[in-house]
């Protein structure tokens, strides 16, 4: 295992010179073994390579022998680790063949015996690792060395701990060497010479000497010195669990975790780097939950007395059924705090991130799951759940089905109808992986997707780094593989087109066929004046918006932060529209009109909902619908007309719903949520969408721009509307509006799964499923894992 340390060294260097005071482990393999190694595996048929042109050419390539360090003498190491003063207090990294030494040389003042004049001493606690260990492992070891150095500096300052310990160690060294030279001095000289000169010798001169006498110096030190014992336990804890909890001098508590190792306690063979955990924490959302890997009571007991009370509360209230948001509210934490604590727990391998357990979850067997028939998991499982067989259980998860469906099977009854514990067990071992359904809005006539998802590339197309470079270098791997050399088309504007599916020739407008086809049905390319026109509308928009705000404040129904969340979404839309108009060439001069009209509509909508005055609606709406229909006529897609009218008619109701959702007083929400949680312990945690959640979600999405307001349907481009109009489902205005609303908020970009939409938007699963079914021509669903959760899985 490249994660484990090979050795730990403690070196000092002061005015009296450098010395390796302690190392662990210090026993080496006995000489028989090393001899065996030399002669044992010698192929009698091998040709002796007598062709050694170079002098003493048997150069050594490995310093690791049977998992232990070999080929270094203590004197040599101490000179290597006793660095010059210029290199102190910074990272020390030295690689010799396949061994990497890492440490943090610490320079500290210490009191010499009698006079109080402080001399400087350098100590270096060095870890020897396999050179193949990744950089993040090395970094962790460096950090540990640094912390040990700091702890020692502190203890030296407080009570001269280091001085005392060093005295003990030096005394033991002197004692042994004195004893040694008394007993057999002559004998060992040769051997020592040997081991010094032949590098391949696997014995240490120090140990050679001490092998003959009953005690080695390091053995003595280990008995006498508490510091040596601390180092020993550091080494042993690193090798066994990766979690170090050592009290230096019974005073300074040193807690350290090597996540690469610690995560292997629960899942052998999975190496999780701290960088992965950071990334995972960044992607955490309020609907995520945590699953503790250990018993919560044990965890509580293992937390030191000065542990954060927030963490304690979180663990006490923990349940795998709760979302982080619920936990945060219950434990009286902010969401960010809850995220940080989660990251902390994950780092220390105490928890993993999941989507809270609920019966609607779909699980499949994880690709990296260990399903060997003799794996220890099989026995562990049978011990935990008598009468059940792990492999049989896993085969039940071969098809993606909701948990309630799976648990109706044979085993459901046997585990007492409570599959939560069982699934939690399987999730802890990373045997199961949850699948989510993602939805992608597909505008059939516009193959040019990238414009939709984010408007953040102002007129530029988005390339991910990899493919960008492909195109830059013009060496397209796949086209060449395909033996086809196509001219890579330049970005082309999507054309507005008719409702029916055109010939497939046309629908991917490469430059070539664009040149061939007539432009009769494409609109002229954008003119500069259009742009300025939009700028004007901008100003109007912002003015309107501020007015909007005013209303909110007066009415006091909507909280400011709720509004802010509205803001974000509208901003986004505005940006999108702008993007469309400026660079996409959907530049019908009526669009401006449209914006104007719909904007009115939006403001109206707001006021209406707030006043709950539905009666005043029709007049204004008719106004709006007139404008809209104008639009539509000019666009030659007259079929849109009634659709739009009907939409607008309905909008207030839905808006109303939306507003109340967002506007719910937080306290109400809390109590409601708590109640719900306590009542239905095994329910989906998607009860309401709190402002905090919205904020968090919105903040993740898109950078903001000057805000405007837009009608919901304007989130669709003209072609999309045309296509929608042809669908029978659009007849039902309620469905259409829900679609538009969700689309507007960006839920149909394949980034948020159904559960997230349910959580954020307070819609029920059945509502969503119906919607997906009705609009299945434009909504493509795909099932895959949540990347934030899947990150912690081994692949």
């Amino acid at each position: 295992m490249e994660v484990n340390p090979l050795n730990i060294f403690f070196v000092k260097s002061d005015s009296k010179g450098d010395r390796l005071l302690f190392r662990y482990p210090y026993t080496t393999e006995n000489k028989d073994e090393s001899k065996q190694k030399k002669f044992g595996r010698h192929n009698p048929y091998a040709i002796n390579s007598a062709e050694d042109l170079l002098q003493n050419s048997q150069s050594q390539t490995s310093n690791i022998c049977k998992g232990q360090l070999s080929g270094f003498t203590d004197e040599m190491l101490s000179t290597l680790f006793a660095v010059k003063a210029e290199l102190c207090n910074r990272k020390f990294e030295l690689k010799v063949n396949d061994v990497r030494f890492v440490g943090h040389p610490t320079l500290l003042p210490y009191r010499t015996n009698k006079d109080d004049t402080a001399a400087m001493i350098l100590i270096n606690i060095v870890f020897a690792l396999q050179a193949s260990a990744s950089h993040s492992i090395v970094k962790c070891y460096y950090d540990l060395s640094k912390r040990l150095g700091k702890a020692l500096r502190h203890e030296e300052k407080r009570c001269s701990y280091l001085t005392e310990e060093m005295k003990i160690m030096l005394a033991a060294h002197d004692e042994v060497s004195a004893l040694d030279s008394e007993i057999n001095s002559g004998e060992n000289d040769d051997e020592e010479e040997n081991s010094r000169h032949s590098v391949s010798s696997t014995t240490y001169s120090m140990d050679n000497r001490t092998n003959n006498v009953p005690k080695s110096a390091f053995h003595l030190i280990l008995q006498r010195s508490s510091l040596a014992r601390s180092m020993k336990s550091v080494f042993e804890e690193l090798s066994s669990t990766g979690i170090v909890q050592v009290r230096i001098n019974k005073w300074v508590l040193l807690s350290f975790c090597l996540p690469h190792k610690a995560h292997q306690i629960h899942n052998r063979g999975s190496i999780i780097e701290p960088e992965t955990i950071d990334k995972c924490v960044q992607r955490l959302r309020p609907y995520h939950g945590i699953l503790l890997m250990v018993n919560p009571n044990d965890l509580l007991a293992s937390i030191p007395l000065d542990g954060s009370p927030a963490l304690l509360r979180l663990i006490k209230l923990y349940s795998p059924l709760k979302s982080l948001q619920t936990l945060a509210i219950e434990a009286d934490l902010t969401l960010t705090q809850a995220f940080q604590l989660t990251g902390h727990l994950v780092y220390w391998a105490k928890a993993t991130v999941i989507y809270p357990l609920c019966e609607g979850n779909v699980y499949v067997v994880a690709p990296g799951a260990n399903i060997h028939i003799n794996s220890p998991l099989v026995d562990e499982f049978t011990k935990e759940f008598p009468g059940l067989c792990l492999l049989q259980m896993l085969s039940e998860f071969s098809l993606p089905a909701p948990l309630w469906y799976v648990s109706r099977g044979a085993w459901g009854a046997r585990c007492g109808g409570r599959p939560a514990r069982l699934v939690a067990w399987l999730l802890r071992r990373r045997l199961l992986l949850q699948l989510h359904t993602y939805v992608q809005f597909n505008s059939p006539h516009c193959p040019h997707w990238p414009r939709h998802p984010h408007a953040q590339y102002d007129g530029k197309e988005y390339f991910c780094e990899k493919h960008d470079s492909y195109y830059q270098s013009n060496s397209v791997s796949f086209s060449s593989l395909n033996q086809v050399q196509l001219n890579v088309p330049e970005p082309v504007e999507p054309r507005e087109s008719i409702n029916t599916f055109p010939d497939s020739d046309e629908d991917y407008p490469t430059q070539n066929n664009l040149n061939q086809t007539d432009f009769s049905h494409t609109k002229p390319i954008v003119i500069e004046s259009e742009h300025t026109k939009y700028d004007k509308f901008h100003e109007v928009d912002s003015a309107n918006h501020s007015f909007d705000d005013g209303i909110d404040v007066v009415d006091g129904l909507l909280k400011p932060n709720v509004n802010g969340c509205d803001y974000d979404t509208t901003k986004k839309i505005q940006k999108k529209v702008q993007g469309n108009s400026v660079d996409s060439g959907i530049s019908n001069n009526l669009n401006g009109n449209g914006i104007n009209g719909t904007e009115n509509g939006h403001v109206n909508g707001h006021t209406d909902t707030k006043d709950m005055d539905v009666k005043s609606l029709p007049s204004r709406l008719s106004d709006l619908s007139l404008k809209e229909s104008d639009n539509v006529i000019n666009r030659d897609t007259s079929s849109d007309e009634d659709k739009f009218e009907s939409d607008v008619d309905v909008s207030p109701r839905l808006r109303n719903a939306h507003a109340t959702t967002n506007g719910t007083e937080k306290k109400n929400g809390v109590s409601l949520n708590l109640k719900l949680q306590s009542e239905m312990s095994f329910q989906s945690p998607t009860v309401w969408s709190a402002p905090a959640g919205c904020d968090a979600a919105d903040a993740c999405r898109v950078p903001s721009d000057p805000p405007t307001t837009e009608s919901l349907l304007d989130t669709f481009t003209a072609e999309e509307r045309a296509v929608l109009a042809t669908m029978p489902a659009s007849e039902n205005p309620g469905d259409l509006l829900l679609l538009a609303q969700l689309h507007k908020k960006g839920y149909f970009r394949g980034e948020q799964h159904l559960e997230e939409i349910m959580f954020m938007e307070n819609v029920s699963r059945s509502q969503l499923m119906q919607l997906l079914d009705k609009f299945k021509d434009v909504l493509i669903t795909f099932e895959t894992e949540d990347p934030a959760v899947a990150m912690l899985y081994p692949y």
Partner: protein, 400 residues
Amino acid sequence: MMDGNSKYYEGCGQEGPIRCIFLCEFHHTAGPRITCQVPENYISKDIFDTVSHYIIPKVQLQRCTLTVTLLGSKILGFPVRIDNKKYARNAYYFNLCFVCDAWARTVHLEPLVKKLTEYLLSMELETEWLSKQSMSGDAKALNSLMQQVMQDINSRRMCTLTVGTTTTHLTVVRVNSDPAPVKDHQVPVFLYSRQSFVADQWDLTTNQILPYIDGFNHVAKIASLTDVEISLVRACVQNLVYYGVVTLVPIFQYCAVYSATPKLRQLTRCVGLQRQCVEFCARSPRQLPKVSDLFRMYAGMSYGSTVRDLCRRMRPQELAINERKLVLFGVLEGLIRRVYKFPVTLHNDNASLRSEHSQCIARTYNGLVCLDELCCQGGLTASQLEEQLERDSDVIFIVK
């Protein structure tokens, strides 16, 4: 120095250029010192003094590759000592060091340093070239040699040195961990254009199997098509995998199951990926499929639905999509992943009893071998094998 660039941090895993090459010797009176350095004064005297005992180390560290990371740079060396009465102090110590930035990966340079050092060593042993160079004061030949190494390695990753009548070749070889053993049912695919593949660089067997590596033939089939022993094919393919020329993908079958990965959403936004996908998956270059159709196909891949089901439902031939290429592209780009089916023998008491009696009939499946591999071993079709296994009540399937 590129310290300011955030892309290059320690541990980023990228290779960096050689910043400096210097030769360091142990002078009999002055101690360790730099004889010759390219470019001049990259390593200052002060810095050198602080690190000199890692560059001219104690006896036991001679002939070890040493890498020391200090003060923002990495120094690689291979210290050498020549014992001979003719030198002052009866020995000649030298070390030729490469200096790189601290963030750079340098493992691949280690063999290079070693080889170059051994070249200098042999010249020193034969003609005392090196010690004469250092005596001469300006060390012109050595200087130009180091200059050449640095330039050529940084720009072309290979270098040919000629001094007098001797020649040596240096090449940077990528150091990768050994690839997993190749299995018979796996399919090799070229990762880059076949045209840029220089056939002369490879051995005869590799050249023989090359034309059959088309992304669809699996190893066993290649072996039978080329009439090459299958273990040789495996070895060749493994070698190609090591050098990153090919990668291995699962075999295409209509009964295979794939699942979309989170990376699939890349297809909705990266234009470059879309174009590649459209070009690659087209049935004919004249008629390109639609991105949305391609996406729909990928999105339809999930646990429990085979490629056959998908093709029946979506009719890719009408959409101008070549479904084989579609799957290949998806796997290569990581948009989809293969979902394997593993037969597992349950540990019943009966089973163990029976296996004692008739071991060859009831074969145990330990959960490590997927159906593909079994089919390939037994020369059965997937449906035949599945039928056969389903009759065995002790065998269950786990899909992952």
